[in-house]
């Protein structure tokens, strides 16, 4: 997917052509600098709590998951509430094999799709659906992923409890771990083993 050969189309891809060579050892700083290139929401919808994870927080979280838990390389990952995609893109840069990003908002998904193609990343798929509909319906998505990452809505905008529904969905979809950011601990990564 990410190639570093001479005819790499530099004109429309962002600057991380060297990552393929050094994926295992890509530093947190380097990851953060790549993630700074990710375009964020044009018109964030407050009702959907479209606050992008900062490149700094995303890089710290993902780098920790990668180096301390070895939970990204070669893994199958879901990103719930993918938004503009900073977490999914970071997972792909750190060597996961496949990511499914899910969001309810078509405009966020369009920005995300654009980010994915600008980075010339080809192992992220997107799904337009409501996380709430995944909770009560054990379909084939349940247990289909090694790892779930997410920065869910916190439930502070007349949508109280949505954070818990995201967690429930995450725990249903993941076989190994769910890494999620929450109100009281945005500075830390919550690691929940099933």
């Amino acid at each position: 997917m990410i190639t570093a050969n001479d005819d790499y189309p530099k004109s429309y891809t962002k600057s991380f052509a060297d990552i393929n060579m050094s994926r295992r050892s890509v530093s947190r700083k380097k990851l953060e600098s790549y993630l700074q290139e990710v375009d964020v929401f044009d018109n964030p919808k407050m009702q959907l709590e479209q606050y992008p994870t900062t490149p700094h927080l995303a890089a710290s979280m993902l780098h920790t998951i990668h180096t301390h838990f070895n939970d990204l390389e070669g893994k199958c990952v879901a990103d719930l509430g993918v938004g503009s995609g900073v977490l999914s893109l970071g997972c792909s840069m750190l060597g996961c094999s496949y990511v499914l990003g899910v969001d309810i908002d078509p405009e966020a998904l369009a920005i995300c799709a654009n980010n994915i193609s600008e980075f010339d990343i080809t192992n992220i798929d997107l799904l337009h659906c409501d996380i709430r509909s995944l909770v009560n319906h054990p379909g084939r998505l349940h247990g289909a992923f090694d790892v779930v990452v997410m920065n869910p809505p916190f439930g502070t905008k007349n949508n109280q409890g949505i954070d818990m529904l995201f967690l429930q969905a995450g725990l249903a979809l993941a076989r190994t771990s769910v890494y999620s950011l929450h109100k009281t601990s945005t500075r830390e990564v919550g690691n929940m083993m099933q």
Binding site: Y98, A110, T122, D125, L126, H128, G139
Partner: protein, 125 residues
């Protein structure tokens, strides 16, 4: 939408639908994108997939060639079949088309590679 994604999507989020799998696929535009080949990933994920649904989906979009009816008990060492499976799981992408619920016929459009499975209020169970 990759066929790996198709293999894990179900329409049982709709009220009254029990299994909702496999979703029928129609593709009006398809692309093949290069993805790093990781044989370990393919070997690890295959047992979790529904082979006959995958084979069927690949056939529906014109990539069914060379897929055995039954998956051999081990793919270890069969480099060529591993690569064929890698191609249909991760590289073939439906860019424009639709998915269809096998029980209700409800259609889910795929636009710009993204399947839309958002339901109307009255369809949610």
């Amino acid at each position: 939408m990759k066929l790996l994604t198709h293999n894990i999507l179900t329409s049982n989020i709709i009220k009254g639908v029990t299994r909702g799998f496999p979703l029928k696929i129609k593709s009006s535009r398809l692309e093949v994108k290069e993805v790093d080949f990781n044989p370990d990933f393919i070997l690890r994920i295959l047992p979790k997939l529904d082979w006959s649904a995958l084979r069927q989906a690949a056939t529906e979009v014109g990539y069914g060639n060379g897929l055995p009816e039954e998956l051999p008990s081990s793919l270890e060492g069969d480099d060529s079949l591993q690569k064929t499976i890698h191609n249909i799981l991760l590289q073939v992408e439906i860019v424009e088309g639709e998915l269809e619920c096998p029980e209700t016929g409800r259609k889910f459009p795929i636009q710009n590679g993204i399947p839309n499975m958002l339901l109307n209020e009255d369809e949610v169970s």
